[in-house]
């Protein structure tokens, strides 16, 4: 029975992880940097959701929609920052996002205090019991929203013109530019999608766990790990990676205890990075 429980709960959690990673992966695609402030963007979305919930009684899905739209606006400051960094080496851009993470974390500490908060809503108590395993409404909602948004993203990237242009930009911005794709606009679109998906994940996160301004980094690490595993510009890869990750995580927690959840998280990242010898032969294919 714990096996089945881990499988179902892990799948549900994993679909949400896929959503958590989606914005991160798109941002990586267009900006060529891992955004280490991603977790903080998710938390900004979470705080927006908590506020909507407390003041207007919004449920998690409404809150996610509004927070997503709000956080999409992050594209403008992000693009301005990225274009101003000199010299723009990969490492400096990565360090910039590290600094941004620290900045947002402290701004949130100032604005929202270090208290732990949770998004409470009327249906939170509802529990579904498939095959004798109990799954709470929060987890199911987050999973369904994750799966839905990943599906929409997948269709957008595969079936629509702007989606295909965005994918081309992710693969090779220069070549895309030569083909007449407006690369700067695509970057803006990618950053907006990245911020929007992060923001939408926020209120859902707040139904799954307590949030506080300092819980961002592990979220970033999950997104980072799934992006390395699942690839950029493909929502289905992220969904699959998310589900696998979620299942293993549930198994680790069930078999070894919750203290080892983070060990799995960072261990998985460390192992996945081992395949990433960049340098010479990846970027330099010119005859």
């Amino acid at each position: 029975m714990p096996l089945l429980e881990a499988l179902l709960a892990g799948t549900a959690q994993g679909l949400f992880y896929g959503l958590l990673a989606a914005g991160f992966a798109i941002t990586f695609g267009v900006a060529r940097t891992f955004n280490l402030a991603h977790g903080e963007l998710v938390l900004l979305g979470a705080y927006a959701g908590l506020w909507l919930n407390a003041s207007l009684g919004a449920g998690p899905l409404t809150a996610a929609a509004v927070a997503g739209l709000a956080l999409a606006l992050w594209a403008w400051p992000a693009q301005a920052l990225l274009s101003r960094i000199t010299p723009a080496s990969e490492l400096r851009v990565l360090t910039l996002t590290f600094g941004l993470s620290l900045l947002l974390q402290n701004l949130m500490l100032l604005s929202f205090s270090a208290d732990y908060r949770f998004l409470d809503w009327e249906r939170a108590e509802v529990v579904w019991r498939p095959l004798g395993v109990s799954l709470g409404a929060g987890r199911l909602t987050a999973a369904a929203a994750g799966a839905g948004l990943l599906l929409v993203l997948h269709l957008f990237l595969q079936r629509t013109r702007p989606g295909r242009a965005l994918r081309a930009t992710c693969q090779d911005a220069r070549a895309a530019g030569l083909m007449g794709i407006p690369v700067e606009r695509m970057q803006l679109l990618g950053l907006a999608l990245g911020g929007g998906l992060a923001g939408a994940a926020g209120p859902l996160l707040a139904t799954l766990q307590y949030v506080s301004p300092t819980v961002g980094p592990p979220l970033t690490v999950i997104a980072l790990t799934l992006t390395i595993a699942g690839g950029v510009g493909r929502a289905d890869g992220l969904a699959l990676a998310g589900v696998l990750f979620g299942i293993v995580e549930s198994l680790v927690v069930a078999l070894a205890g919750p203290a080892w959840r983070e060990a799995w998280l960072f261990g998985a990242l460390l192992l996945l990075l081992q395949g990433r010898r960049t340098g010479l032969l990846r970027g330099r294919r010119a005859s």
């Binding site: 360090t95 590290f98 900045l103 402290n106 500490l109 983070e262 990075l273």
Partner: protein, 301 residues
């Protein structure tokens, strides 16, 4: 280089002054952070920006604390043990990270530091788990000198590098690793040696810190902060000479402790966020860069 020795002289002189206990304590912590930052910079010479020096800081802290409190060794011996333990921890960390470049190296060190933190939190019989260790033997009164002494030793390492072929070899690896290797520079062994040295000094800093604050828990000893601070302080000071990281650490730490923390206890870390954004967006060579441009554009190192 000369700037580095001048700052070392300042540190020694400051350690000898009769400060109040409060200010002496600040000075000790500041010097230990400067040592941590300088150790980070040594590895950066080889083009490897660590996001995980908290790993070595934490291992050094725990090893020294355990050697002094459980094995009953004198604090001085325990400090050395801490440095050695950190170097030993650098062996697996290096094996999992040094073949990576750029962002991938940085992220691997970050993950490695977190794995070590989790091990420390769960190896309860040795480390006391998340409760940590308390009542550690204190740093002797001359303890403030550990930071200054470590900095002096690191400056000696820099001098040796500059006088031998290894200094230019590290620069070559940093700038164009394939070409350096094609010219016979043994990059892996050299980077490994650099990482071990860097880790030993970071470990010494953590070890002294443990006896200075006299209590340890995994969440603080391996805190992400001890990975972020050396990165920010070194880039803020400027990485083109050994003086930069020392200057950056000194300026930021004392600004934070003396001016900001008393007034804005909640958000004082905004200083560090602001410093790093400033450097990346408008001050590419850090404080040392300003000094150099003022001084007529000549290299000061």
């Amino acid at each position: 280089m000369r700037g580095g020795w001048a700052l070392f002289g300042c540190a020694l002189a400051a350690s000898a002054l009769p400060w109040s206990p409060y200010h002496r304590s600040l000075l000790t912590t500041g010097l230990l952070l400067a040592l941590l930052t300088a150790s980070w910079h040594l590895l950066a010479l080889g083009g490897r920006l660590s996001f995980g020096h908290a790993a070595f800081f934490g291992v050094g802290a725990y090893a020294s604390a355990l050697l002094a409190s459980r094995a009953g060794l004198s604090v001085w011996v325990a400090l050395l043990g801490g440095a050695l333990a950190a170097a030993a921890a650098a062996i697996p960390v290096g094996a999992l990270s040094l073949h990576l470049r750029g962002p991938y190296f940085s992220l691997a060190t970050l993950a490695a530091a977190e794995v070590l933190r989790i091990l420390a939190a769960n190896w309860t019989s040795l480390t006391g788990g998340t409760w940590g260790l308390v009542g550690l033997p204190p740093l002797p009164p001359q303890g403030a000198l550990v930071g200054a002494g470590g900095i002096g030793a690191l400056l000696l390492v820099h001098t040796l590098l500059a006088r031998s072929r290894w200094g230019v070899a590290l620069a070559a690896i940093r700038q164009q690793q394939e070409r350096a290797e094609a010219l016979g520079v043994p990059s892996r062994p050299l980077l490994f040696a650099t990482l071990l040295t860097s880790a030993a000094f970071a470990g010494l800093s953590g070890a002294a810190y443990a006896h200075h604050v006299r209590s340890l828990e995994p969440a603080t000893a391996f805190s992400l902060l001890f990975s972020i601070l050396p990165l920010i302080m070194a880039l803020f000071g400027g990485t083109s000479s050994p003086a930069g990281p020392l200057l950056g650490a000194g300026v930021l730490y004392f600004l934070d402790e003396l001016l900001l923390q008393p007034r804005f206890p909640a958000g004082h870390q905004l200083l560090y966020a602001g410093a790093i954004l400033l450097v990346l967006l408008g001050l590419p060579e850090g404080l040392v860069g300003i000094a150099r441009r003022r001084g007529g554009g000549r290299g000061a190192s």
